[in-house]
């Protein structure tokens, strides 16, 4: 089959392994396209996409916008800072108004968990979740798994440690779903206060010591401490966090094997990763960014073409 089982990309939870593999195979082709002298294809020329961002974003929004433009879609951008949401309009009204202007797809980021799921029940357009609160960030997980597949040949059987603020991270949850579906072993690692209580029920290992996690894994996906989502203190100080959980180039070099270092960005240099680690040969952080465009092109292409 060359069709996704879903009309929307709300989360990795709803995807099948076949869906993920189809997205990867399509993304392989788009990765070749974005390295051509002329990087644009006309597939989505009669499709209009609204990027609706109720939460700040640089990388994801730019990546989606670039993916849409490389596919020749018409793009409108909307962010809450300069919109009528500030005047008290509801989410459904805002989106319905945008759709009345004949928009076919909506890419949405929202601070509330389940916002895209709510929209999917009420509107006809295809919806792509670009992050909903602390819940899921499916395209990030897809591009992370795609980057692992590219670097190591496959995801199946690989050991991946997700390190950092697991509690507040939508990237972590989507990554766990994606990696487990693709047959990887997954471990989460962080201070006990930043690990959700029943996370092991998702079939992941839990480790509190970063050194042990690094010794175990083939790939370390390091996450940012999401201070903006933390209403209370989960650890004494950033300095202490970086002392116990920060990864340096020396930690990586001292391991008995070569591991791959990933980070979804934005990096807080000197907190979860030191500069020399982030820029070392272990790191595929910038490959992740490049793959992000190709993977998002694949998602948009497959969703738009399945009417």
């Amino acid at each position: 089959m060359s069709k996704l089982s879903q009309r929307h990309l709300l989360g990795i939870k709803n995807l099948t392994r076949q869906d993920i593999e189809l997205i990867f195979e399509t993304a392989d082709n788009f990765k070749e396209v974005i390295n051509r002298p002329i990087k644009k294809v006309p597939s989505l020329r009669d499709v209009t996409i609204a990027n609706i961002f109720f939460e700040n974003s640089t990388r994801t929004r730019l990546s989606f916008e670039l993916a849409e433009k490389r596919l020749s879609a018409d793009v409108i951008n909307f962010s809450t800072s300069n919109s009528s949401v500030k005047k008290g309009e509801t989410l459904l009204d805002t989106v319905n108004n945008i759709l009345a202007m004949k928009v076919d797809m909506v890419v949405m980021r929202h601070a509330s968990v389940g916002a895209p799921h709510f929209l999917a029940k009420h509107i006809k357009a295809n919806i792509v979740n670009a992050g909903d609160g602390t819940h899921e960030h499916p395209t990030q997980a897809l591009l992370d798994a795609f980057s692992i597949r590219e670097k190591l040949g496959s995801v199946e059987g690989k050991k991946i440690a997700i390190i950092g603020d697991i509690l507040h991270s939508r990237v972590a949850l989507s990554n766990i779903f994606a990696l487990k579906k693709l047959g990887a072993e997954v471990m989460v690692c962080g201070p006990p206060t930043l690990i959700p209580k029943f996370i092991s029920s998702l079939g992941v290992k839990v480790e509190w010591e970063v050194q042990k996690a690094l010794e175990w894994c083939d790939v370390a996906n390091v996450l940012r401490i999401q201070l903006e989502r933390q209403q209370i203190k989960y650890f004494p100080s950033l300095r202490e966090y970086s002392l116990y959980y920060g990864i340096t180039k020396k930690t990586l070099d001292d391991l008995k094997k070569d591991i791959v270092l990933m980070h979804p960005g934005p990096i807080n240099r000197g907190v979860e990763l030191t500069s020399d680690a982030a820029d070392s040969h272990h790191s595929i952080i910038l490959d992740q960014v490049e793959n992000g465009v190709a993977v998002r092109m694949a998602v948009l292409y497959l969703l738009a073409g399945a009417n």
Binding site: S2, E25, N29, V33, P37, V41, P42, L44, D46
Partner: protein
């Protein structure tokens, strides 16, 4: 379902040899010529012709694969999005003579898409089209081939089936199939 042979293994070989000779006649030493096989099925034919030319002109001619899926005009008009294949053109086509190769020329829409896809890699000096089977009177667009293995007059409801050893078949054979 009725099947009728259009070209058998022996005739196909004669036809391929003739096509190669025609290419040599037009392209001499192939110094400015590159070959592009159209995905997904044209690449097998392109490889066959490429191998034959190599023994005839004693020279390695650049061979690439071109996929036109993202340039098709039926996106969002089919139930399932068309599945893309690999494009691999590890050489420049700027100012080259390009020979596009596909197995069957039917409506001409794939060739139209392929021309668009190819232009993304540069501006060739000249583009020609080689097909094994030209299905006459089923064209939707004003497109014709420069080198043709065999002209077959078909109905739109009929199908041409190309079986090549390279695709895993026992023998090279081209069939005309009546759907009923």
């Amino acid at each position: 379902m009725q099947k009728k042979i259009v070209l058998d293994s022996q005739l196909l070989d004669i036809t391929l040899n003739r096509l190669c000779q025609q290419l040599i006649e037009a392209h001499h030493d192939f110094s400015e010529t590159v070959i592009l096989g159209l995905q997904p099925r044209g690449i097998f034919l392109a490889e066959l012709i490429h191998a034959k030319l190599k023994t005839l002109v004693k020279k390695q001619i650049p061979l690439g694969y071109l996929d036109a899926t993202f340039h098709r005009d039926d996106f969002r008009r089919r139930d399932v999005p068309a599945k893309a294949s690999e494009t691999r053109i590890p050489f420049a086509i700027e100012n080259k003579n390009v020979v596009l190769i596909d197995d069957v020329l039917f409506t001409g829409r794939t060739v139209r898409a392929a021309l668009d896809a190819m232009i993304a890699f540069g501006r060739p000096a000249k583009v020609e089209l080689l097909v094994l089977v030209d299905r006459t009177s089923t064209r939707d667009l004003p497109i014709s081939a420069d080198y043709v293995g065999k002209y077959v007059d078909t109905l739109e409801s009929q199908k041409i089936l190309v079986e090549l050893v390279a695709q895993g078949h026992k023998q090279n054979k081209i069939w005309l199939i009546n759907k009923d």
